[in-house]
Amino acid sequence: MSAPGTPTAEALAAAAAAAPASGAMLATPTPALAAAGLALQRDLTLAFRKRGQLVQPLAFFGMVTLLFPLAISPELARLREVAPGVVWAGALLASLLALEFLFRDDAYDGTLEQYALSGQSLTALMFAKTAAHWLLTGLPLALMAPLAALSLGAPTVSLPGIVASVAVGSVALSLIGSIGAGLTLGIKRSGALLALLTLPLSLPVLIFGARATQLAISGGPLLPPLELLGALAVLGITLAPLAAAAAVRISLE
């Protein structure tokens, strides 16, 4: 807060606008959308250079869903009953695996500091990073879910519904996870704490997602739980980047 008698925030903004001309420092600021696009592009580029990290959650998801028939019974009717829970618990845990890396490397190498000092909206940049996380984890999980569902006895006709529910639900999972990843940023071996923070918040997504998958398999009305998943995703898009940016700022201090 400025003391009485000092110029206001408008004066500082004016100084920022005038600075290039006064110091012979000419630079056109990057528009917010372009800056967020660059942050997204950087994360995607880096992920494709480190493919091992990219494959881990998918391999985990595949292993979990393949282990269930071995542990329960190879009988398809029984597997079909547990398929919604298996698919969603697997997707939730696989998404959680990748969350630990969401901000960690950027915090170590100073990228997050540079984002915080960039003059851009940290909320928009955090949203871009979360979008990259979903593109690299949530979307591939959604595309892999039909294979998992088929191995658990789900009928072919249910597959579009399963893909839709995992795709929409994983958006909410990535956004909820970004808050936990921001809050646990400065903590060593934060994986367990991240799970403890994130899993309770993810329960509504798990419940509605499993219900949508169950209805897709049984041929019931899929739309209501899908709409609820969509509502959770929209709520996450509205609030989670703000909370993640605040958490990152606190962790940087």
Partner: protein, 208 residues
């Protein structure tokens, strides 16, 4: 408006029980360069991070052109460049890609500007190499290229000459001189004094 560009008034900051910044005050005008020294743990990095708004002091304030920077921190951030201990570079990106993403988030940069500035800092040959294959000195040069590209009036540098050879140290001096010539302000936290070529250096020693 104050004639002084940057005014730091009575900064106090605690880390737990430790009183790190004990009433730090100074003022700097256009073209000024402040060299901050002190033993390990004296609070040099903490001071830089507090000045740029990454840390919140318990007491005191920082004014830019007479305005408390906390009034609009984002506007203040568009005026400064902070280079920490480690260059903010991704090991799995090339030097060119690193600059493209790091600087591109802040300002529009033409490809020829990257080439020119990498040549300027003696890292032209590093442009298409992954940063993980560069030496510590080369990484520092790439980071200095980023600094030069940012085109902002306030530079906050933490150990800017670390890992640099004699030529590299002269490069830092030249960059600071250019910044001063443009009317920019530089604050550098250092263990070893800045190269002698830098003119009009003011000193601030922090006590442990």
């Amino acid at each position: 408006m104050s004639s002084e560009r940057l005014q730091v008034e009575n900064l106090h900051l605690w880390r737990g029980e430790r009183h790190v910044l004990k009433g730090v005050s100074f003022t700097l005008g256009r073209g000024a360069c402040l060299q901050v020294t002190g033993v390990n743990g004296a609070g040099k990095t903490t001071l830089l991070r507090t000045l740029c708004g990454l840390m919140y002091p318990e007491e005191g304030r920082v004014l830019w052109d007479g305005t408390d920077v906390r009034a609009d921190l984002r506007a203040f951030h568009t005026l400064l460049a902070y280079l920490g201990h480690e260059p903010p570079l991704k090991a799995d990106l090339t030097a060119w890609e690193n600059l493209h993403y790091w600087i591109g988030v802040r300002r529009r940069v033409e490809p020829r500007e990257f080439e020119a500035v990498l040549g300027r800092v003696g890292a032209a040959g590093c442009a298409q190499r992954l940063v993980r294959t560069l030496s510590a000195g080369q990484r520092r040069r790439v980071a200095l290229a980023g600094l030069a590209l940012l085109s902002v009036p306030l530079w906050l540098l933490d150990e800017p000459t670390t890992n640099l050879d004699t030529d590299g140290q002269q490069l830092v001096a030249d960059l600071i001189l250019e910044q001063q010539g443009r009317g920019g302000t530089v604050i550098a936290a250092v263990h070893h004094a800045l190269p002698r070529a830098v003119r009009d250096v003011q000193h601030l020693e922090l006590a442990a």
